[in-house]
C-alpha cells in the first residue's frame, strides 16, 4: 500500500512537472549565422538580423501557426464590413527602451515615413493603403484604397516593425547612431555587440506583458564554421541552434545526443519554398513541354529523404501548404523519367547542354545541384554546373544570365504578398533580384492574381487562387522542389521555444528554462 502511494505520488509530481509554471531567470546561448550587418530591422531585414532584432522591435501583430493574428503592440482590432477600415487599439503602458512612452505617433511615423523610405516590402503593402491616421494616443486607423485582405498578415515585426519617432525623426535614417544601439519596445534590450564574437541582449524589466520575459540574458554567438557550430552545441556552449545554422547532415547526429530536442515549427509565416528558375526567355525552357519534362525528371522524394534528412515536404505547386489559400491541384508531377523522355522527344529537344547555377549556401545545396544534374542527365538533358558566390549568384540571376538556377523564397504569410510577385508580368525587370526572374508572362494569370489580391471576403479570394494555382500547375514556369524544413535543435530544458508562426525571433519572450 505504502509503495503504491509513493508510486502515485511520484506520478503526481511528474505530471505537475509537465504542466509546470514558467520560472523566471537564467540565460541562453544561441547561434546567429551569419553575423548580421546590423540588427536595426527597419532597414536590415535578412534572417540573422531578424533573429536578434525580433526581440528588440515589435510589430502590431503576431501570428499563430495557422497565421491567425494575435496581439502584439496592438491589443485589439476591428475591421469594417467592407474590408476598408482597420482600427487598432494599442497596448497600455508600452515604453521604449530609453523610457519614453510608445504612442500612436510612433506607429504613424513608422508606417508613413520611416519604413516607406527604407523598406521595399512595406512599400508594397502600403500601395494598398490610402491613409494612416491616429484619432488618439492609443488608436491607429488604416484606410485602404480597396479591400486587401492580406493586409492583416503584413503587420508583423518582419514587415512593419514599429520604430521610435523621437530617435529617428529628422535624421539620416541610414546613418543614425541608434542603428548601432537599437531602441525598441521588445522583451529584450540591446546591451553589447562584440563584432565577430557575440551579441548580448538583456531582459527589459519594464516590458508591458506582466512577468515576461522570463529569461535574464540572451547571447547570440557568431561561429562562422558549420562544424564548429555543431561542436558548440555538443559541448553545451550553445543551447539553441536556430534552423539552418548547422548542415543538414549533422542534424541526425545531434538529435541523438542526450537531452536534445528538435522542432520544425516556427517557419509557417516564412514558409520557405525552393524551386529551379527555368529561364523562360530561352529555348528550350520557353517550351512548356520541356518544363514539364524537368518536373517529371526530378526525384524530389530522394532530395527530401537523403539530402534534407526527411525534413520538409515535396512541394505540390506555387503555394506552400502552410499558406492560406493553398490547394493541392492537378496535374501532379511524380518522378517519372519515362514520361520526361517522351515529352522531350515530342517537343524535339535537340540535346543542347544547359547551365545550372546552384545556391552558394553550403554543402547541402551543392549536393542537391549534383542530384539535379544526375536526374536531368538520366532523361537526356546534359547539365554543366557553374558555381558562384552570393554576390555572383545575385548578379547572374537578376541579369537573367542563366539557364536553370536554384533558389528559395519566403512566402510571407499571404499569396498576395509573397507569391504572386514571382509570376506576375509586372514584376519582370532586369536587375531586380528575386520576384519574376524566370520571365514568365501570362496575362490571364496576371488578371487572376490581381483580382484575387483585392477580392473580399476570403472565400472569393479562394476561388480565384484555386484557378491561379491550376494555371501555374499546367504552365510550370519554374520547377518547384521542396517546402524546406529548417529544424531548430535545442536543449530540452528550454521550454516554449516556438510560440508564433515566426519562431525564435519572436518567442524568446515566452521561453523559459526548466530547473
Amino acid at each position: 500500500m505504502r509503495r503504491l502511494l509513493t508510486a502515485s505520488l511520484a506520478l503526481l509530481s511528474t505530471t505537475t512537472a509537465a504542466f509546470a509554471e514558467a520560472v523566471p531567470g537564467g540565460k541562453l546561448n544561441l547561434i546567429v549565422q551569419p553575423e548580421p550587418p546590423s540588427i536595426m530591422i527597419g532597414t536590415t531585414t535578412n534572417g540573422p538580423a531578424l533573429l536578434v532584432g525580433g526581440n528588440i522591435y515589435e510589430g502590431l501583430l503576431r501570428y499563430d501557426e495557422t497565421l491567425k493574428p494575435m496581439p502584439s503592440l496592438a491589443k485589439s482590432w476591428t475591421v469594417s464590413d467592407d474590408g476598408l477600415i482597420y482600427t487598432f487599439q494599442l497596448q497600455e503602458g508600452v515604453k521604449w527602451h530609453d523610457g519614453k512612452p510608445m504612442t500612436s505617433a510612433d506607429v504613424l511615423f513608422s508606417a508613413n515615413d520611416y519604413l516607406l523610405k527604407m523598406q521595399p516590402r512595406h512599400r508594397n503593402l502600403m500601395s494598398h493603403v490610402e491613409s494612416v491616421t491616429a484619432p488618439d494616443d492609443k488608436t491607429v486607423v488604416f484606410k485602404l484604397k480597396e479591400p486587401f485582405e492580406a493586409f492583416m498578415r503584413g503587420l508583423s515585426f518582419y514587415t512593419m516593425p514599429i520604430i521610435p519617432k523621437h530617435i529617428y525623426e529628422g535624421t539620416d535614417y541610414a546613418t543614425n547612431p541608434a542603428n548601432d544601439k537599437p531602441i525598441g519596445t521588445g522583451p529584450f534590450k540591446f546591451d553589447e555587440w562584440k563584432r565577430g564574437s557575440y551579441i548580448h541582449l538583456v531582459k527589459n524589466p519594464d516590458y508591458y506583458v506582466n512577468g515576461k520575459p522570463y529569461l535574464d540574458e540572451l547571447y547570440y554567438q557568431v561561429i562562422p564554421d558549420g562544424a564548429s557550430r555543431s561542436v558548440a552545441f555538443e559541448t553545451g556552449k550553445v543551447d539553441i541552434l536556430p534552423g539552418g545554422s548547422v548542415e543538414n547532415f549533422d542534424i541526425p547526429r545531434l538529435k541523438d545526443l542526450p537531452n536534445t530536442c528538435t522542432t520544425e515549427k516556427g517557419w509557417e509565416y516564412f514558409a520557405p519554398l525552393s524551386w529551379l528558375w527555368l529561364n523562360n526567355r530561352k529555348a528550350p525552357m520557353d517550351n512548356v513541354k520541356f518544363r514539364q519534362a524537368v518536373m517529371y525528371a526530378l526525384d524530389r522524394e530522394f532530395a527530401k529523404d537523403v539530402l534534407w534528412n526527411g525534413y520538409g515536404k515535396v512541394a505540390t505547386g506555387a503555394l506552400s501548404s502552410k499558406l492560406p489559400f493553398y490547394k493541392d491541384v492537378d496535374p501532379h508531377y511524380p518522378h517519372d523519367p519515362a514520361k520526361a523522355k517522351a515529352l522531350l522527344k515530342e517537343m524535339g529537344y535537340d540535346g543542347k547542354a544547359l547551365k545550372l547555377l546552384p545556391l552558394p549556401y553550403g554543402e547541402t545545396w551543392q549536393r542537391w545541384a549534383e542530384a539535379v544534374k544526375q536526374n536531368l542527365e538520366e532523361v537526356g538533358i546534359p547539365i554543366e554546373i557553374e558555381s558562384a558566390d552570393v554576390a555572383g549568384w545575385n548578379q547572374r540571376t537578376s541579369n537573367w544570365d542563366y539557364d536553370i538556377a536554384f533558389t528559395y523564397l519566403y512566402q510571407n504569410g499571404d499569396p498576395a504578398i509573397g507569391v504572386d510577385r514571382n509570376y506576375k508580368t509586372s514584376q519582370i525587370a532586369k536587375g531586380n533580384p528575386f520576384n519574376n526572374v524566370e520571365g514568365y508572362s501570362n496575362p490571364e494569370l496576371d488578371k487572376l492574381f490581381d483580382e484575387a489580391a483585392v477580392a473580399y471576403p476570403a472565400t472569393k479570394r479562394q476561388e480565384l487562387y484555386d484557378k491561379a494555382q491550376k494555371t501555374l500547375q499546367q504552365d510550370v514556369p519554374v520547377a518547384w522542389l521542396l517546402e524546406l524544413g529548417f529544424p531548430t535543435v535545442y536543449n530540452c530544458k528550454v521550454q516554449d521555444i516556438v510560440t508564433t508562426a515566426s519562431g525564435l525571433p519572436e518567442s524568446m519572450r515566452d521561453a523559459w528554462i526548466k530547473k
Partner: protein
C-alpha cells in the same frame, strides 16, 4: 642606417598607393556589388531599393570618381565607411586587429622558438633516435593540411577530453576581469595558435637542422674543434649563428603574413580577427572594408620586410645594408 630606413619608408608609401589602386580595380572586377548582396540577403527587393542603396554607397558614380575619392581619403589616413556594417572601417579594423595580432604573434613565437630548438637538437643528435623522431614529426606537420589538424585538435581536446575550449576568443558571458580574463583568453588561444604555428614550426625545424649540418662541416668549425672549445659552445656560437640566416628570411615571410594569413584558422576557431573580417567583406563585396584590410595588411608586410632587412645586419654584420 637612418638614411636607409627613411628611403625604404618613402618607397613603402609609393608601393602602398600602387597596391591600393590595384586592389581597387581587382575588387570592382568581381561580379556583383554590395547593394545586390544586401538586397539578395533580404530575399526581397525592388529596383528602387537597389538604386537607393547604390546612391547611398556612392556606387552610382563613375569608377574613376570612386577611385579618386577613395585614394584621396586613404592618403589622409581615412579608410572610409563600411556601409554594410554601418561603422567606420578604421574602427572595425581596430576592434579586430588585436585578436589577430595576438593569435599570429603567439603562433610566430611558438613556431620559431620550438622549430629552431628542435632543429638544433636534431642536428646535434644526427642519426640518433631523437633526430629520427623530430624529423618525422616535422615531416608530418609539414605535410598535413591546417584545417584537418584544427578539426582533429578540437575533437580531441575539446569534445573528447574537454580540456580546452574549441572556439571563441573568451568565455562568452563569464565577465572575467584582470588576471582571470587573461587566463581565459590564454586557454582559448592554445588550440588555434598551436595549429597555426605547426606548419612553420616544421619548416623551421627542417631548415635549422639542414643548415646546421652544413655549417658544421665548414673549416672554421673544424678550427674551433681543434682549438678544443666545448661542443655546446661551438654549436651555439659558431654553427647556429651562421645557420640562422635562412631562418630569418623565412621568419620575415611568416611575419608578413601576421595579419592576413589566419583566415582559415580564425574561421574554424571562431576567432574574432581580421582574417575573417576580410573574408566576410570579400563575400559581401564590402568594398571599403575589404580595401581597408588590404591596406593595413600591405602596410604590415612592408613593415616586417624592413625589420627583416635590418635584422640580417644584426645577425650577420658582414651583410651591408644597401642604401
Amino acid at each position: 642606417m637612418l638614411r636607409f630606413i627613411s628611403g625604404r619608408l618613402l618607397k613603402a608609401v609609393v608601393i602602398l598607393i600602387c597596391i591600393t589602386v590595384l586592389n581597387f580595380f581587382l575588387i570592382h572586377a568581381a561580379p556583383g556589388d554590395p547593394a545586390a548582396v544586401m538586397a539578395g540577403e533580404a530575399g526581397d527587393a525592388d529596383p528602387a531599393f537597389l538604386q537607393q542603396l547604390r546612391e547611398r554607397f556612392g556606387l552610382d558614380q563613375p569608377l574613376y570618381v570612386q577611385l579618386w575619392i577613395y585614394v584621396s581619403s586613404v592618403v589622409q589616413l581615412d579608410l572610409g565607411y563600411s556601409y554594410r556594417q554601418q561603422l567606420p572601417v578604421l574602427q572595425l579594423i581596430g576592434e579586430r586587429l588585436p585578436a589577430t595580432l595576438l593569435l599570429s604573434l603567439s603562433a610566430f613565437v611558438i613556431s620559431l622558438g620550438l622549430g629552431v630548438t628542435a632543429g638544433a637538437l636534431a642536428s646535434a643528435r644526427q642519426g640518433k633516435w631523437a633526430d629520427t623522431i623530430i624529423s618525422l614529426v616535422a615531416l608530418i606537420f609539414y605535410a598535413t593540411p591546417l584545417f584537418w589538424l584544427a578539426l582533429m585538435g578540437v575533437l580531441l581536446f575539446s569534445v573528447q577530453l574537454g580540456w580546452l575550449p574549441g572556439f571563441g576568443y573568451e568565455t562568452v558571458g563569464a565577465n572575467y576581469t584582470g588576471l582571470g580574463r587573461s587566463l581565459d583568453i590564454l586557454l582559448h588561444l592554445i588550440l588555434p595558435a598551436m595549429t597555426l604555428g605547426l606548419f612553420f614550426m616544421a619548416v623551421y625545424a627542417r631548415m635549422t637542422r639542414a643548415a646546421m649540418l652544413e655549417v658544421g662541416k665548414l673549416d672554421f668549425v673544424k678550427t674551433a674543434k681543434a682549438k678544443g672549445l666545448r661542443s655546446g659552445l661551438i654549436q651555439r656560437r659558431h654553427v647556429l649563428r651562421n645557420a640562422l640566416l635562412p631562418v630569418v628570411t623565412l621568419a620575415g615571410l611568416q611575419a608578413g603574413q601576421l595579419v592576413g594569413g589566419a583566415v582559415l584558422i580564425e574561421t574554424v576557431f571562431a576567432w574574432p580577427g581580421i582574417g575573417r573580417l576580410m573574408f566576410d567583406a570579400l563575400s559581401q563585396r564590402d568594398y571599403n572594408l575589404l580595401l581597408g584590410v588590404f591596406v593595413v595588411s600591405a602596410a604590415m608586410v612592408l613593415f616586417f620586410n624592413l625589420i627583416t632587412d635590418v635584422l640580417y645586419r644584426l645577425v650577420d654584420p658582414r651583410i651591408r645594408v644597401a642604401s
